[in-house]
Symmetry: C2
Subunit: 159 residues, 2 copies
């Protein structure tokens, strides 16, 4: 067994085939965002949970099924997120008066408070994420990301 | 219990607070990419696993520690990915001759074959992901994504 000083790993460049792959860049972007979110916004409440709280706040009494696509979650993830936030006391589900299969969502008082707190930190993070993109540059990068998201989602729907 | 025809969920617009959040767009982009990858490239071998195979192919005999940052994986994910691909017979680990703590990675013949196959499908997916971005537009979107990835990663490193 070697007993010398610990050898520092060499630096290895990213293979050019990866640098040219849009999906590799998408992973780097998303995983750094998730790590930043956990560190500076909230270590427990996730981005998707925040999206659901935001949407329920915008549409009090919305039914759970209608909500999924508006926050870009599939049905089963949505069900899971809602259940967790109901357990955490942030959301209540009520059965619709004339249709027992519809579950209508509302924020609790605690949910509204938590949302306000997380929103403040999430917006501060957004500012940092877009630092260096000023004025028209900011609009442009947001437009590019929106276009890319819509294009990739359309590939998925079209299959 | 209601017995009428199944009610179609209403369409609910994405709250504007989310539309303006870069992290929400990053999630939509990454999750649609992952879903496309699973569907058209490989349902078992993941994007990060493909990145590791690609890097080991570029640097035969590279040590595992050096590899992690070149494929944007943290050390523990890297260890997990390498173990899975060793179990699958795609990679072999050999102990370095003069330093028992260094694990050097090589593709097996099967690993090289699998990589060639997955690479062909991954490149076809990349073409679809960038369809509609021609010539300079393609360079521009790749540059924008690269810049954003580097900026977000630097926020993480700087903390």
């Amino acid at each position: 067994m070697a007993t010398g000083p610990k050898r520092e790993p060499e630096t290895v460049a990213t293979p050019s085939a990866l640098m040219a792959a849009p999906g590799y860049l998408a992973r780097r972007i998303y995983q750094s965002y998730v790590a930043l979110w956990t560190r500076v916004v909230d270590p427990v409440l996730t981005g998707p949970q925040y999206a659901v709280l935001t949407a329920v706040d915008s549409y009090p009494g919305v039914d759970q099924k209608s909500l999924a696509s508006s926050v870009a979650l599939d049905r089963s993830t949505m069900t899971d997120v809602v259940r967790r936030m109901e357990d955490a006391g942030l959301i209540v589900r009520r059965t619709a008066l004339h249709d027992g299969r519809r579950k209508l969502l509302y924020l609790t008082e605690e949910g509204a408070g938590r949302l306000a707190e997380v929103r403040r930190l999430a917006r501060a993070l957004d500012e940092e994420l877009l630092r260096g993109y000023e004025g028209a540059g900011r609009d442009q990068v947001m437009r590019e990301l929106t276009r890319l998201a819509a294009h990739w989602e359309s590939l998925l729907d079209g299959r």
